[in-house]
């Protein structure tokens, strides 16, 4: 789960990590008031989840409160298109108004999980302020890593290694090491999946500060962080995905094709996209229905499909394991009863309780297309999406 920059900075601050003075504003008037309180030059920053705001005009500098108000009124309420958003862009409802600090050096600091080593790794670089993946490719020697061994937790020597490695001065090292310890504490206690400060800056008065910050959280751990879960801003989600999410479909991703796909299991769902592609068609979505124990998830998926004007055909491909084919069949039948389904529906069931599932569908009288196997299902769905039937 992602959160906004202003929320991330509030969390950093709570963990003792210095951030620029500032506050979030929902209206130009609020932005003006905050800017007035800060005095001097401020930055007005659009609050969207997507990166690349600077180049897209989402960050404006303002010399005084009036300019800040003007900048805010140009940003709040608009949609911001960056290289990370869709062409529609992301809606901006808030701006962060921050005092501009004098920047002497721009560094990079982040924590992620190293899957191979099975431990968190802190990444630091002198080349802050730029795209870190770029730095990884062009100047790999500038990327420093410190692994955090869970058997002993964070140790200051790791911080010193990174701090001296970034060529910090003697008096900058201690606050930097302290900041790193605090960032790891936040990462660990809040179950982050990414904690990134880019740039981490050395200011004109030689102090260290997080100028921009990004925190992502482990979705699987949100059950123990109600405070974090509440920070989510659904306006930043894709509207289709948000709707699916609201309806309890967690693993739904909108794609550009026209075949609505309902599959169980992420690997099989990806394979279905591959097979549709192989058969000359295009999927309208990725949807892993997961382990369904009742029919409501199936009905929800059909509601998502029918609400999507792009969807010209629906492909249901279920190989029962934890999910049971008979439950899926019941869900399809109920969906037909509850929703006006205008597009052809290809159904392929296999695995756990498949005989019962097929029997239910056959006896239900609904107008579905039965597929014999995996390839048959994809072919029939691609045909149907091209108007081969209906």
């Amino acid at each position: 789960m992602k959160i906004h920059e202003y929320q991330a900075k509030a969390l950093l601050s709570q963990y003792g990590i210095p951030v620029p003075s500032g506050d979030v504003a929902g209206t130009p008037a609020e932005a003006k008031k905050i800017a007035a309180g800060l005095q001097g030059k401020v930055a007005v920053k659009a609050q969207v989840y997507a990166g690349g705001r600077g180049k897209a005009g989402g960050i404006k500098l303002a010399a005084n409160a009036d300019e800040a108000e003007k900048s805010a009124s140009g940003i709040i309420g608009a949609r911001l298109v960056t290289h990370q958003t869709s062409a529609r862009g992301a809606p901006v409802s808030h701006v962060l108004v921050e005092k501009v600090v004098e920047v002497r050096r721009e560094l990079y600091l982040s924590i992620v999980i190293d899957n191979a080593r099975k431990m968190p790794v802190m990444i630091a670089s002198e080349a802050g302020g730029m795209d870190i993946e770029e730095v990884t490719l062009t100047s790999p020697e500038k990327i420093l890593k410190a692994y955090i061994d869970p058997s002993a937790g964070w140790q200051d020597f790791e911080g010193r290694k990174l701090a001296y490695g970034m060529n910090l001065s003697a008096q900058q090292v201690k606050p930097a090491v302290k900041l790193m310890a605090n960032l790891y504490k936040l990462f660990h206690e809040k179950d982050c999946s990414l904690a990134e400060i880019n740039p981490l800056v050395i200011t004109g008065d030689d102090s260290i500060m997080a100028l921009d910050a990004k925190l992502n959280f482990d979705d699987s751990a949100l059950f123990r962080h109600e405070d974090i879960r509440r920070l989510h801003d659904p306006a930043q989600d894709d509207p289709f995905e948000a709707r699916a999410n609201e309806m309890g479909i967690k693993n739904y991703i909108k794609l550009s094709g026209n075949i609505g796909c309902m599959v169980n299991g992420a690997g099989l769902a990806m394979a279905v996209l591959d097979l549709i592609n192989y058969c000359g068609g295009n999927a309208a979505n990725f949807l892993d229905i997961g382990t369904v124990n009742n029919t409501s998830a199936v009905i929800s998926a059909f509601k998502v499909f029918t609400a999507d004007p792009d969807v010209k055909a629906i492909l249901v491909n279920i190989f029962g394991g934890m999910a049971r084919a008979d439950t899926i069949a019941r869900g399809i039948i109920e969906a037909y009863q509850q929703i006006d389904i205008k597009v052809p529906v290809v159904v392929r069931l296999a695995g756990t309780n498949v005989a019962e599932g097929k029997r239910l569908l056959a006896e239900s009288g609904i107008n579905y297309i039965e597929a014999a196997d995996f390839l048959d299902a994809a072919r029939k769905a691609v045909d149907a999406s091209k108007g081969g039937r209906n």
């Binding site: 869970p150 058997s151 099989l268 990806m270 394979a271 190989f319 995996f374």
Partner: protein, 290 residues
């Protein structure tokens, strides 16, 4: 032979009194697995399909000699359950649970280090040695005893693959679903090693997917150490980059996670690549004729 599980496996089901736990306990018993014990704290003394339930893994092992465990405990308690099984000395722990927090799994891996235990999963379908033993949630009837080993990151795509194989008359030695999470107990290389050592296994099917570099590691191992036929399919070639596709492991990070890179690495290592997911079985059949 087969790998990891067989007729001598004595299974403990952790979370046996839950819905999924009891459902799959019954399925495993029906398949022929020796389910000797169940464990749910507070339900000690009960029975589920004739299987005695214990309050702790330690007491279950002491009383029944269980030597493998399958875990159906909800995400918030699953890490604790894995550690409990390892602490009680169970050598094979299969964790079905999906959605365990990453930090919990980091603790688990740190705890398991140096202990004589193999973890399969989490977020996996388990494993099956057809005709001998099933420790997982796959439909047993789609399998057929034979000599093709199957290893996969995906659950349902494995079922699909196995169904294709069985449909073509090709039996399996053992099918192992290693799971879709980023932090796994057992990876491709671990299983390839076992298949390579297993005399019964004549060919290996490896089902990978986008994200991470586990398939590249597998390719290196195949090149260096495997002299058996390997057939492979990588799911997600048509997935748009940068999006999470269900499995936490399936994020393309940098260049290394792309399907094409994985396919090229495996191909260069001598693996035969199936053209599409519906023809994995067919590819195996053709390859076995050589």
């Amino acid at each position: 032979m087969s790998i990891l599980i067989d007729e001598k496996t004595r299974l403990l089901v952790q979370g046996i009194t839950g819905g999924e736990g009891s459902f799959h306990t019954q399925r495993c018993i029906e398949y022929g697995t020796k389910v000797v014990a169940g464990m749910t704290p507070g339900k000690g003394g009960a029975q589920v399909f004739g299987v005695p339930v214990f309050n702790t893994v330690e007491s279950a092992v002491r009383e029944t000699g269980a030597n493998a465990s399958i875990i159906f405990v909800p995400p918030s308690g699953a890490a604790d359950s894995i550690m409990e099984a390892a602490d009680a000395g169970i050598p094979l722990v299969v964790c079905i649970t999906e959605g365990i927090p990453v930090m919990d799994m980091i603790s688990v891996h740190s705890f398991l280090k140096g202990k004589p235990v193999r973890l399969i999963g989490p977020n996996c379908p388990g494993l099956i040695s057809p005709g001998k033993c099933k420790v997982g949630i796959m439909a047993g009837e789609i399998h057929k005893q034979g000599n093709v080993g199957v290893v996969s990151r995906s659950g349902t795509l494995t079922y699909e693959t196995v169904a294709q194989l069985t449909g073509l008359g090709i039996g399996q030695s053992t099918c192992v679903g290693i799971g879709g999470d980023p932090l796994l107990g057992t990876n491709f290389v671990d299983v390839l090693k076992l298949f390579q050592e297993d005399e019964e296994t004549k060919a290996i099917v490896l089902i990978g997917e986008i994200g991470g570099t586990m398939e590249q590691d597998a390719a290196q191992f195949i090149k260096d150490k495997v002299n058996k036929l390997v057939i492979s399919f990588i799911a997600g070639a048509s997935a748009p980059p940068g999006r999470r596709m269900g499995h936490a492991g399936a994020i393309i990070s940098g260049n290394t996670g792309k399907a094409q890179d994985k396919i090229e690495a495996l191909s260069a290592a001598g693996a035969i690549i199936a053209p599409n997911p519906a023809e994995i079985g067919k590819t195996v059949k053709k390859s076995l004729k050589y």
